[in-house]
Subunit: 347 residues, 2 copies
């Protein structure tokens, strides 16, 4: 008799997102019959606790995936490129949190509130979108469905945890040094491995990921291209400016949209988002209620507020969208995809 | 024989902006024959050093302005409403850094790089615009003149020093408390005197100044209305979302514009801004060169970078504008207005 549950592997189990994946699997009481925790050679041997049981993290190899049914990858694009096909070859469905397969035509890019049905077309690998993209499409899809959507201009306010645990540590240590009047040397941000590093504490850096020739960063292009793929709207106009802030966790976005319909009010949009899947409306300016990163940490929802009609454009609206980038932006969306796979009997 | 110089008064001499005004007057070697330092009753008696001489700050009264030729006000809107007319009555020209007179039809609202000529229409009071507006119009006016400008959408990343010395202190103390795991109670931000106060350290607050009924904050409406007045473009479409960050000094802005001309390239815009008054172009993505608040502190210029053409709109461009909010956003622009008054022989 088969155990009631699935053999699940977490690849990158010791990282910032991997840790949140384990926490989320535990919180959701995800049906697990066997749990395999994998990492790079460097982190292998680390002890990790899941549901009061201690696990030893093992170095990921192709053979690690024998018998695995669901593999959640979050160990960098290169690891995914190398090992995701090996996992699929051995019968696993891969939910990949890196950018390796997101724009691959054969790979569905899924946010369950938006395009859960796309899971049915999978060929073994399912891509989890970029964190800043996920929270935006969760808030915009209900508007697109109700009113049509033709233009999106977003400026982001992104937390350092998107750049991993080393970036969180850099923010903390730099903040301490500045407050104490001590010297410090930036070593991680804005982009680990890029040529120059800048102060993030008490600063704002308009670079996330490397630059493309067109002047946009890869992070900005991810938001532009992934939004169109997830919503299946190749004609949608999307523009993004992505900025890193001295915030530990919680991405915020100032979003301007133009919808197709011209007679819609801000109150109608609020009413729609109040009932939307995965959205919590926090929009009561007279009581100073609006979303903020410090209040979203540890929560799965996308928080939306500051919804108001543009003063010139009758189909234009502004809003402020905040979510925990490690949860809905990564771990929770991945686990949610796994839950959808079960629900749709695809695993 | 008249002394070579002017009798200058600084009202609010002990505040964050007042201190920068004195520093700027000293740095510029502004022609001063007599200096009168004024403040509220509360701060009267404070000793302040200017050019190695010690001054005692006095409580401002109508009589304080006898003989004053140029009065720089930065002590809050109520002080300006009460005392600016008294100063004018006694023959002074007032440069007012508060919002008290900015939208008054009889008061020119001046950024010298943009509308210095408007000074000629003054009736005693000249208004210094809001900090976030000033840096934006310095960067946009050359584009408006060259190509025509019809739409501006800005999202701001504003430093706490715009809310005064108490807000700087709150950011520092809160940051220390959080890093040490200590308790803290927000008391100042987002708006001193408003009902609720929120954590600013390691957070982002989408509220600067109080809310209007239309869902925009007063700060956002200042950017919208003042931009049109300074540029003398009532038809210009402007929208703003203003956000407070855990940055001490230096406002940043993610700005999207649409110009009238359709065949302009990003390189042309860069070339134009490279030679523009008051602008320093910092735009070399391949070498990770772009403006940041941490690098603009103590400098008078407006820094512009990340200039790129929109991927859909052929007359659309994105850019990132940074400046020291206490200098070009306040003290330096005020002193610059005073210098223009001398140059134009208006004082």
């Amino acid at each position: 008799m088969e155990a009631k549950g699935y053999h699940v592997a977490v690849v990158g189990a010791t990282g910032a997102v991997g840790q949140q994946m384990l926490q989320t699997l535990e919180n959701r009481n995800f049906p697990i019959s066997k749990l395999t925790l994998l990492s790079s050679e460097r982190s292998a041997g680390t002890k990790v606790t899941f549901k009061n049981e201690e696990y030893t993290v093992q170095a990921a190899t192709p053979e690690s995936f024998e018998g695995v049914q669901i593999a959640l990858f979050s160990a960098g694009g290169n690891v995914s490129k190398q090992l995701a096909p090996e996992a699929v070859k051995r019968g696993a469905i891969v939910v990949d949190n890196t950018s390796a397969y997101r724009m691959d035509e054969n790979v569905p890019l899924v946010v369950p509130e938006v395009n859960e049905e796309a899971l049915k077309t999978h060929n073994g690998i399912i891509a989890n979108p970029n964190c800043s993209t996920i929270q935006m499409v969760v808030a915009l899809e209900p508007l697109r469905q109700a009113y049509g959507l033709n233009k999106v201009i977003v400026s982001t306010y992104q937390a350092v945890s998107g750049a991993g645990a080393v970036a969180i540590n850099e923010l903390r240590e730099q903040s301490k040094a500045i407050l104490n009047g001590d010297q410090f040397t930036p070593e991680i941000l804005p982009v680990k491995g890029d040529e120059k590093h800048y102060q993030i504490a008490f600063n704002a850096i308009p670079q996330i990921d490397k630059f493309q020739d067109n002047g946009f960063t890869f992070e900005e292009m991810k938001m532009i291209n992934e939004t169109k793929k997830i919503m299946n709207t190749p004609q949608l106009q999307v523009a993004a400016t992505c900025v890193r802030l001295p915030v530990e966790t919680g991405h915020s976005e100032s979003v301007y949209i133009e919808i197709d319909q011209k007679d819609v009010t801000a109150d109608q949009i609020k009413a729609l988002l109040k009932d939307a899947d995965g959205v919590t409306l926090q929009d009561d300016p007279s009581n100073q209620i609006y979303p903020m990163p410090a209040h979203c940490v540890g929560k799965n929802d996308v928080f939306v507020g500051r919804i108001r009609k543009d003063l010139d454009q009758e189909n234009g609206f502004h809003m402020w969208i905040v979510s925990d980038n490690l949860l809905k932006g990564a771990a929770w969306n991945s686990v949610q995809i796994a839950e959808s796979l079960i629900k749709l009997q695809l695993v």
